[in-house]
Symmetry: C2
Subunit: 624 residues, 2 copies
């Protein structure tokens, strides 16, 4: 590789911008898809940023002193990858033959399969919230002077999550966060809501606490000055640079024209565009490097976690055990917690009191809650994010994208199911298991007692990917002795004999109902096996299969969840995944819309209490 030019002056930046445009066109035309015009509008911004302001050691992306560059407008991937070519980390050949191709790391939208990409983007309105999380880590955890630059599109300013992000950025005084908004006035199907009304954008951003710079996004000196001022860390506000730009800038046939979103130029147009843009270039440039190097946030440092102990039979809510265990886990300096303004219900407040410097209150903004978790995870921390289980539905897109970001984050949702009682259905998570099971590579845990809950919190802290624990509002008897182990992917058989005729499977509140049902059945001379399926995903196929084989395939599964996608589905998936099965399944779940009531009333009305479980078992035996 020839030596790159390291002092990119503005005339060179102008050339660089043209190169980025040309390469955005060439790569997308070669791929036959992509978003060249959305790249061309922001090329001047990126040329000045990367050439003169972004402090990044391209030879050492693992240097934790590097600035961060997040493309919130992920569809401008041709621009990002063209930047990578310009700094010499991706070859022109890879750009031209890899972009959007099968097996290539240059995916249609950026993902962290690339070492310079922190988070997956492409679902709009997420990159900036993620950047807030990274900036939180920079200011409060790492205490390092890196900056987090997020390139946003103007269309995504319509997403509420953008305003959650700016709200939190100003609340937490994140001067290290700079949003650059590429206001090219054109969305996918036509003009954006606000067009080039920079005044309205500016008023909104200022009202949400940002320093605002409104500039012509093709005026290089203006860009340079705004980036310099915005990148200054001495203040207490995030910055928003509003750059008025023209989509497709630089090629007269498409510039500022509708109907060119997400369309590669046909080859003949691409040729004319390259000519109009001054031809192909192969500039190799580098911007400033960070001062010195830094290591990423503290690894799990081997601190011994002393889990809380509970007496068998003692009544303890699993949500309380979560708080106890999380506080215990705090001896690990990589563990960070955050909550959506309900920490006194989820018991995350126990961690907040013990380790206030590693706790972030996210208020009622669940999308930003998840994004903050992803962001601090980028910096090597292990986030635990909690709220009512029902309200994780607010952030499903963020959870899905976190999986694509290869994030390892721990989510804990309290107040699940009809068990919560009087508050009614808006507060009852009845879809959360389905939602989290369907996330790629996820782990879904649903403990029934405090001992297992605490042990599983510890397990989550080292689990890869998206981990979710569902906790329960009410206090139920502790079932296991302290020290019992609960491997992810296993289960516990709480009751069994050689004479078992039916298997009862539950988790959370329904496990206690299964145990009660087994007691009733035993009095009638019916032996029932009882399985605590605390690991809903992965589920313990071997134990389930053995139980099915031992009990004539007769299974009762009871869950405090809608019938689809939860515990019952997990059991069926596990049992049918390994060959031919002969099953007689009674699946008890919440099939009607619940209202208010006591826990006992609602469990009974939903048909998931001990009496219904016992009745279902009897029916299975009668049917055979």
């Amino acid at each position: 590789m020839p030596a790159p030019t390291t002092n990119v002056d503005l005339p060179l930046a102008a050339e660089l911008a043209q190169q980025l445009r040309v390469d955005s066109i060439r790569s997308s035309t070669s791929a036959g898809s992509g978003h060249p015009t959305s790249s061309m509008s922001a090329a001047d911004l990126l040329a000045v940023l990367v050439g003169r302001h972004l402090r990044y050691d391209w030879d050492d992306p693992a240097n934790a002193a590097n600035d961060h560059l997040i493309f919130s407008k992920g569809h401008a991937s041709p621009l990002l990858y063209s930047v990578y070519k310009a700094v010499g980390v991706v070859s022109d050949e890879e750009l031209m033959t890899g972009y959007r191709r099968f097996g290539s790391r240059l995916e249609g939208h950026p993902t962290p399969v690339l070492p310079w990409v922190d988070v997956a983007t492409g679902s709009l309105g997420q990159g900036l919230p993620d950047a807030v999380g990274v900036a939180l880590a920079g200011k409060y955890l790492d205490e390092l002077p890196y900056r987090v630059w997020a390139l946003c599109g103007d269309s995504e300013m319509a997403e509420g999550s953008i305003w959650e992000a700016l709200d939190k950025a100003s609340y937490y005084k994140l001067a290290n966060l700079i949003a650059i908004v590429d206001v090219n006035r054109l969305g996918q199907r036509g003009p954006t809501e606000l067009g080039w009304d920079l005044d309205t954008y500016a008023a909104r951003a200022a009202a949400f606490g940002a320093r605002v710079f409104a500039i012509d996004g093709h005026d290089l000196p203006a860009i340079d000055q705004a980036l310099a001022e915005a990148g200054d860390l001495s203040g207490h506000q995030p910055s928003v640079i509003l750059a008025r730009t023209r989509k497709g800038r630089g090629f007269s046939e498409v510039e500022d024209r509708e109907d060119w979103h997400g369309k590669p130029l046909p080859e003949h147009m691409a040729e004319r565009a390259v000519v109009e843009l001054g031809g192909e270039r192969n500039l190799l440039v580098r911007g400033p490097r960070p001062e010195g190097t830094a290591k990423p946030g503290p690894a799990a440092d081997g601190a011994e976690v002393k889990l809380p102990g509970y007496e068998r039979g003692q009544k303890v809510a699993t949500r309380k055990a979560y708080g106890d265990a999380l506080a215990a886990l705090g001896v690990r300096r990589d563990v960070v917690a955050m909550d959506g303004e309900v920490s006194n219900s989820t018991f995350a407040d126990q961690f907040a009191k013990a380790y206030p410097e590693r706790y972030f209150e996210m208020f009622i903004a669940e999308q930003q809650l998840i994004a903050a978790a992803v962001g601090v995870g980028v910096r090597g921390y292990r986030p635990f994010a909690s709220t009512f289980a029902a309200f994780f539905t607010r952030a499903y897109d963020f959870i899905r994208m976190a999986a694509i970001s290869r994030a390892s984050i721990c989510l804990v949702g309290s107040h699940a199911g009809v068990e919560i009682g009087a508050d009614g259905p808006s507060q009852m998570a009845l879809e959360d298991l389905a939602m989290l099971r369907a996330v790629h590579g996820s782990t879904v845990l649903y403990p029934s007692d405090a001992t297992s809950a605490a042990a599983l919190v510890l397990a989550m802290a080292d689990q890869e990917g998206i981990s979710y624990m569902r906790t329960t509002r009410g206090a139920y008897p502790v079932l296991y002795d302290a020290g019992e182990t609960f491997p992810v992917g296993r289960s516990k058989v709480l009751r069994q004999s050689d004479a078992d005729q039916v298997t009862l499977i539950g988790a959370g509140v329904t496990l206690h109902e299964c145990l009660a049902a087994a007691g009733t059945l035993a009095e009638e001379g019916i032996d029932a096996r009882v399985i605590d399926l605390y690991s809903v995903k992965p589920a313990d196929a071997a134990t389930l299969a053995a139980a099915a084989a031992a009990t004539g395939g007769r299974l009762v599964v009871a869950e405090d969840h809608h019938p689809e996608g939860g515990l019952g589905a997990a059991v069926l998936d596990a049992l049918t995944g390994g060959g031919r099965t002969d099953l007689a399944v009674a699946h008890l779940a919440v099939r009607e819309m619940p209202g208010s009531g006591t826990t006992a009333e609602l469990l009974a009305a939903s048909g998931i209490d001990a009496a219904h479980i016992a009745a279902a078992a009897r029916r299975l035996l009668e049917a055979d």
Copy 2:
């Protein structure tokens, strides 16, 4: 019932406010749960609103000329139900014995089991977006002078969805929308982000296009004046009334104190509170009534819908068929469409062009997209809301709450699964079937060809509850003749014989792969039955069971979705729901994180193409 006082002057409103406080305390104390302090802060606002401004015929809640009153802060249900007592539609006895009790309509958070409640609230940040939908209908569809009043909490101003709502309210110039924000400065676990900083709230609301009124929320003349001005329909802006209030107002032991969120007063405190508030009252009041009466929006008026016809074998994308069918459905005046700025991809633009007066562009704000659908549904319209299938995950909480609202809305998501190709995983819906199946009472459809897609669009328009259709990006051969019927809950057997040894089940793109696999297998002498499971929920248990019985229980299910909660789960649920089953299932689904590529490459890499389906079938036969 004695005659109510119909001219509520301010002195009487003050008494009414005290009654609302007293009854909020009494009802929640009697229930042993609830949010009295969150009710007390807003009692003055509601007394003046209901007594003097809300135009509502309490004897005729079906009068479509009535104003709407939506409690976005649904946890203030004691206040709402106390209002119902004050206007004489709920008795004191019902309030005291029903609130939060099992089987009662006075649920912990309001739901439309009450005739005066439009939408379920309790997940914060949703009532105002729903109100925007109702106001859209009022201004553009009904063209009636009703107003939509939404009572918001200050904590929920942290939800991005609130800003999506105000953005759309100003974009659509909804002068008929009035948000009243009860700024009591205390959230659940402590102070809110902004406390009593009304200036910042005001700057934000103004920047988002609202007329702003900042008042003392306990100053009755100030409230009265603000409500009068805000309720004036002559302008072009929504109104936001910022009312500085004190949580627990009126009872010195709790007023403006922390740690009293969501807690009923113990009986002895409740007694003291009632004394301090001047004792129990039984005022019966009525505010103004609307001028005249109006009927709700047009019912399905029997207009004959002429569905598009397609030639068998012609290649048509199901998303295109959606656009065709939706445009055809437009002859029904109750049908309304909206989209999240991708109407040229979902083909909702065909409706937009044909019926611009019944189309609402919601830009990239999926939460508001769903809320707008719910809101126009409140007014009797039948909304179709579309975006990329992946991006409905952004609005899962809204979809879940729509079910609790008993809304009938039609959702259509395009660009599902790895089939989309080069754009990569951020754009691939791989969780949508799981997400939508888990919604209470939902219908989930996944057509494989244009004929069935068009027919199912028509079916959706009369389906109760939440209906979802997944469409496909690419064009595939039409499989069915025009006029073929596709009842919800049924399926099509596309290939069968008495010699069938295995059943192949697909939907969408995988059905075409199943057909190809069956062709391959037939050449090898293996007869395979092929089922088009276009109705994923409810699934056709009878046809599936018959196929399983006829083919030795051997089933291959192939789906372009993660393994959890989708087509495979639907098949297993259907087959195990009816008694003992003997099954050998091969479940092909997207089990690894996809990248970019062509459709064929990605289907193959995910193991869901014809070759993998045929191989799975062979393995099932070999295993037996």
